[in-house]
């Protein structure tokens, strides 16, 4: 929505720099890709699986002193696990 507004503004304001438009586009893309799937992007936590981020787990205390070990559990989002996602339309 923010991006649509920005495009509109640039059309109306000839001569305005395209930098703010690109900055918002980049920011929205980043946020959509990396934010919790509760916001509608990052489906099935694809971004988190890619970077190895375990997501919104409640407690990491057991892992505080375990260095250089791969965390074995799949990511969870605020709304739950990948397996709980509704089927693709």
């Amino acid at each position: 929505m923010g991006t649509q507004k920005c495009v509109h503004a640039l059309v109306q304001l000839q001569g305005t720099s395209t930098t703010p438009f690109f900055e918002i586009l980049l920011q929205d893309t980043r946020q959509g890709f990396f934010a919790d799937p509760i916001y509608g992007g990052n489906r099935d936590m694809a971004a988190w699986k890619m970077i190895g981020f375990p997501g919104a787990r409640y407690d990491y205390r057991d892992w505080v002193e375990r260095h250089n070990e791969r965390y074995p559990l799949p990511p969870v989002s605020i709304t739950g696990r990948t397996e709980w996602s509704p089927a693709r339309p």
Binding site: Q31, A35, D36, I38, Y39, R61, V64, H67, I78
Partner: protein, 228 residues
């Protein structure tokens, strides 16, 4: 139209850490207290239940807990030649909003000031000479010393269940704490969260190089709740 509210003994403007502590002391003493805060009402079970995950986008990036720039607009300029413009996104400071003030979103780091911080002008002058400070540097001594504030630091740390490792107990230096801190009358109430510091590569490397890494002093009580 003026709304006339019932009279009260005390009105506190701003119910953050300071206002809340003052309110508790005054109500304990039998006074009627009304506290005024901008923004929404917040309470623990509704706004901060343990089964709720505050996510980075809503809170850290979009500043959900802070004043909206449209709610209280501040202008800023980076140097006197600029025209001050409204701040659209908070950056170098984050204005609290709602009951609890900054206590709602602080990072809970509770370092004490160093004894020299309270007498900075005297300290720098004694250490580097009277000509060290340029004339337009306006720093002053606080007018209150570390030793005078120490009992209050202590009270606050025990109120919060602050965790950390003491570096100086009644003038005696302690291992693994901050060797530069002022004397504490007693240890922290909580030994603190498991610190990866002493086992991680950076901690070990720091010690090998003669440095003394120490855990951050945090109000994140993990051992037990403290009710002084």
């Amino acid at each position: 139209m003026t709304t006339k509210l019932p009279p009260t003994d005390v009105v506190i403007i701003g119910l953050g850490w300071t206002g809340a502590i003052v309110a508790k002391s005054m109500t304990d003493a039998g006074l009627r207290v009304v506290a005024i805060e901008r923004g929404p009402w917040r309470d623990t079970p509704t706004d901060f239940p343990p089964n709720y995950a505050p996510d980075e986008l809503r809170y850290a990036v979009r500043h959900d807990l802070f004043v909206r720039p449209a709610q209280t607009t501040l202008t800023c300029r980076n140097n006197p030649s600029q025209t001050a413009l409204p701040i659209r996104t908070w950056g170098s400071f984050l204005l609290p909003n709602g009951v609890g003030g900054a206590g709602v979103h602080w990072n809970a780091q509770t370092w004490r000031f160093l004894p020299t911080d309270f007498v900075l002008k005297t300290h720098l002058t004694q250490r580097y000479g009277a000509k060290f400070l340029p004339e337009d540097i306006t720093i002053q001594d606080w007018g209150v010393t570390y030793d005078e504030l120490e009992p209050h630091y202590d009270t606050f740390e025990y109120l919060c269940g602050t965790s950390g490792i003491a570096g100086n107990l009644k003038g005696q230096k302690q291992p693994f704490g901050n060797p530069w801190e002022g004397p504490r009358s007693r240890p922290y109430p909580d030994a603190g969260a498991k610190a990866a510091l002493r086992t991680c590569a950076m901690g070990r490397g720091s010690e090998r190089n003669g440095l003394q890494p120490l855990p951050a002093t945090l109000r994140q009580s993990v051992a037990r709740l403290h009710e002084p």
